[in-house]
């Protein structure tokens, strides 16, 4: 077997990478392995090309849906107004061009995110303090609404009334913020 890097010397080192159960074989000769050593084992980023994998994920999509040929053509025409990245370009690169791409390609993105993140497609973590002011409040209202439903279900009506009042006051505040902000 020849080294996959230089294609000249016989491969002496054989790696198997297993990522999410996905096996990738890497066969290198001593010389190329020396060059790559360290990086393969110690880098935070794996040496293998993630882009191909991602592009693969994205490309699978049309064949699953396949109601007509048009969606694919639309995707090809779709481009980001801010950085002018096109969908085929994104497929090739595996990286977005700017923050606006997430909005531009949102229709294509959701199934991909679900596959990449075990079915999740919405953020559930940290919210920046300064720019995220209202988001904090809105998330809090959502949580309160959930516990309100639980209280009603378990017939804790007094507690439910308290929560309802709290929701109202926050919603009032949010409405005030929106007006003030305009």
């Amino acid at each position: 077997m020849l080294c996959q890097e230089c294609g000249q010397r016989p491969a002496a080192l054989h790696f198997t990478k297993i990522i999410n159960g996905e096996k990738t074989e890497v066969n290198l000769c001593e010389v190329c392995a020396q060059e790559k050593s360290g990086m393969l084992m110690f880098s935070g980023q794996p040496g293998f090309d993630f882009n191909n994998l991602l592009a693969g994920l994205l490309k699978i999509d049309p064949s699953f849906q396949k109601p007509s040929q048009s969606p694919l053509q639309q995707e090809e025409l779709l481009h980001c107004e801010y950085c002018s990245m096109t969908f085929p370009q994104f497929l090739k690169l595996g990286r977005f061009g700017c923050a606006h791409c997430y909005e531009t390609f949102k229709d294509q993105l959701q199934p991909v995110l679900r596959r990449l993140h075990s079915g999740n497609w919405t953020h559930n973590g940290k919210i920046p303090k300064r720019i995220g002011g209202d988001i904090h409040l809105r998330k809090h209202v959502d949580e309160l609404k959930q516990s309100l439903q639980q209280c009603i279900a378990s017939e804790e009506f007094e507690k439910a009334a308290q929560i309802r009042d709290e929701i109202r006051s926050i919603e009032k505040k949010l409405a005030g913020n929106a007006e003030g902000g305009e």
Binding site: Q45, R95, A99, L113, N124
Partner: protein, 361 residues
């Protein structure tokens, strides 16, 4: 504080200090990926934009420096020698991508090297905190503090639905990568790692550093990190990783006990043979060095070797990497010359310890 200082101060705190469970966990790292709203991502941005990002960070450091983790210094990639970049890479302070593919890259380092902020790598900002031993909560707290400081001055690309927006959709949401570096010789010697890795993968975590036949890592060192960044909170991600790591720690400990019970003399023999190789060899390749260092470290942890510092594995695994060897030699070395240098460096380092070594008879 100059670049020389960073490089000469070869041993970072995460290599030399001991942390919780540091008989098995070598280090803990938290990385947060962030981008600045107004600029295009590094995959597409212009040189001008890239320079503006660096200038913004430089300005920020000057005007509203953040001293919680000590003074910080910004180093530009294009002002470094190839060897200097390589050394920073081997110390995990910068990534290969920043060193090789980011001409407008920079890194902000604290003096103790616990914090490094990579600029213009795959994302505009990557905050990284590296702690010795198992300290996920502390590392997360530190990373969050730096994140909050930056957010006070920088408009992050953030979306209510998708969270922190990153170049690559694999990092979107929290932008967090929590990883724990573990020394697991017991699980390798008892051939359990093959079974364990797929189980960890199924939980959404990645195991890196797998070597040959999908089971052996260089120096039996594995990095376990989260794969999912979206839909879970940072705390949940760390807690889940903690769960996996605790399991691994207890399995590793019982594997070591089992080894000691069933093949005590063989194990002791292996440890001292490896010590012999390290103390006496004149030419040693990195793979052999890694294997022997792992054995010696196991010997220290299990009480076969006394009064030798535990940090020897962490330290020498890094110091015997090609970049460091060449730094130590003061110039470029061919692979064969490196093997000679490596052997010399290891002998020298062990000599410092040898006064104290008393092997069990």
């Amino acid at each position: 504080m100059s670049l020389e200082h960073f490089l000469n101060q070869a041993v970072s705190s995460w290599m030399s200090e001991e942390g919780p469970d540091s008989d098995i966990v070598l280090s803990t790292r938290i990385r947060l990926a962030r981008n600045i709203e107004q600029y295009k991502f590094p995959s597409l941005f212009s040189h001008e934009e890239a320079k503006m990002v660096v200038a913004k960070m430089e300005h920020l450091l000057k005007t509203s420096g953040f001293e919680t983790f000590g003074p910080m210094e910004l180093l530009k990639i294009n002002e470094m020698q190839p060897l200097q970049k390589r050394v920073l890479m081997e110390k995990h302070l910068i990534s290969p991508q920043l060193a090789e593919e980011s001409p407008n890259g920079a890194v902000v380092l604290t003096e103790n090297e616990e914090v490094s902020i990579m600029i213009n790598e795959e994302d505009h900002i990557r905050i990284q905190c590296l702690f010795p031993g198992l300290q996920l909560a502390n590392a997360l707290e530190a990373a969050n503090e730096i994140d909050d400081w930056l957010e006070d001055h920088i408009q992050y690309a953030f979306d209510e639905k998708y969270g922190y927006l990153t170049s690559c959709p694999t990092n979107v949401g929290t932008g967090i990568r929590a990883s724990v570096m573990m020394h697991l010789p017991g699980l390798i010697l008892t051939q359990q790692m093959n079974r364990i890795v797929p189980a960890i993968n199924q939980l959404g975590f990645v195991v890196r550093g797998i070597y040959g036949e999908g089971s052996e890592a260089l120096g039996n060192i594995f990095q376990i990190s989260n794969q999912i960044t979206l839909g879970k909170s940072e705390e949940d991600i760390c807690r889940d990783l903690m769960g996996v790591v605790s399991q691994l720690i207890s399995q590793e400990r019982s594997a070591r006990e089992a080894l000691q019970r069933t093949s005590n003399i063989q194990l002791e023999d292996r440890v001292f043979r490896s010590l012999g190789v390290l103390t006496n060899s004149r030419i040693i390749e990195s793979k052999e060095a890694a294997r022997c260092l792992s054995d010696v470290r196991l010997g220290i942890d299990m009480g076969y070797i006394h009064q030798m510092s535990k940090s020897i594995l962490n330290e020498l695994m890094i110091l015997t990497q090609p970049g460091f060897l060449q730094q130590y030699a003061g110039g470029q070395l061919r692979p064969h010359e490196r093997d000679i240098r490596r052997a010399a460096l290891i002998r020298e380092r062990l000599k410092m310890e040898s006064k104290n070594i008393k092997g069990e008879e």
